[in-house]
């Protein structure tokens, strides 16, 4: 039995509902070729290193599966067709890699935009000691009052 993983890049407009239907379609395709799905994960939205199809952001997904040596060619070509033809508008990039039996299934992935804590302008300014620039700080400051001597 050979183990494979396919990393694919989807357009940023791909919703979570659409991803679940995409996942079930992939699972069905793998089952048709007598394979077994190990995992299908949605990594989340990422800022891409360079624009792909004029998109600066994209959603990554990773699917891992297992298939016998006799049926692997059929499954791999079917998956390629699936990404390149059926979901041609949504899947921007895909890459299939053989998984070694010796290595574990654990992997590290970069932090997505959804994993990062949401920050607004005031939080950013506070973290970088620039509180004076924030609008709320300027509003709370008391107005400068000239003394009677200066007025005269």
């Amino acid at each position: 039995m050979a183990r494979y993983e396919t990393l694919f890049l989807l357009t940023p407009e791909f919703t979570k509902g659409e991803f679940s239907s995409f996942e079930s379609a992939v699972q069905k395709l793998i089952a048709e070729h007598a394979g077994s799905l190990i995992s299908c994960e949605r990594w989340g939205k990422y800022h891409l290193a360079f624009p792909v199809r004029r998109n600066d952001y994209g959603i990554y997904g990773l699917v891992r599966y297992e298939v016998s040596d006799e049926r692997k060619q059929g499954l791999l070509s079917a998956l390629k067709t699936f990404f390149a033809v059926k979901y041609v508008d949504s899947v921007m990039r895909s890459m299939t890699v053989v998984l070694s039996d010796k290595r574990s299934l654990e992997y590290h992935r970069p932090e997505s935009l959804e994993d990062m804590p949401a920050r607004d302008v005031d939080t950013f300014l506070k973290e970088n000691n620039m509180e004076g620039l924030s609008r709320s700080h300027r509003r709370t400051q008391e107005p400068v009052v000239k003394s009677d001597v200066e007025k005269e």
Binding site: A49, F50, L62, R93, M95, R103, H108, P110
Partner: protein
């Protein structure tokens, strides 16, 4: 009497350098610690980014200290990551 084989100039210079800076010579981090091999993966863009220059070029093994085998494997993983837009081919605005 057998003649002593003279080494190539590059090997002689390398031996001389290592003799001089024996305690400073870099070790391949993947050969020294096997657990680092698991980090060398095209999906692990944060780890692979440390092997790129600010312009996005792959650092030579002379700078990174990798051995030839792991340098080849590393460059292969970086190129895979570049294809999937996890790493840049070149830095922007250059």
């Amino acid at each position: 009497m057998s003649k002593k084989m003279k080494l190539k100039i590059s090997t002689r210079l390398l031996k001389k350098k290592n003799k001089r800076n024996g305690f400073l010579s870099k070790q391949c981090r993947f050969c020294a610690h096997e657990e680092n091999l698991g980090l060398m993966d095209y999906k692990n863009a944060t780890f692979l980014r440390s092997f790129l220059t600010e312009r996005g070029k792959i650092l030579s093994s002379r700078i990174s200290g990798n051995c030839a085998m792991h340098q080849r494997a590393l460059s292969c993983e970086v190129k895979k990551a570049r294809g999937m837009a996890l790493l840049p081919y070149c830095a922007p605005h250059f």
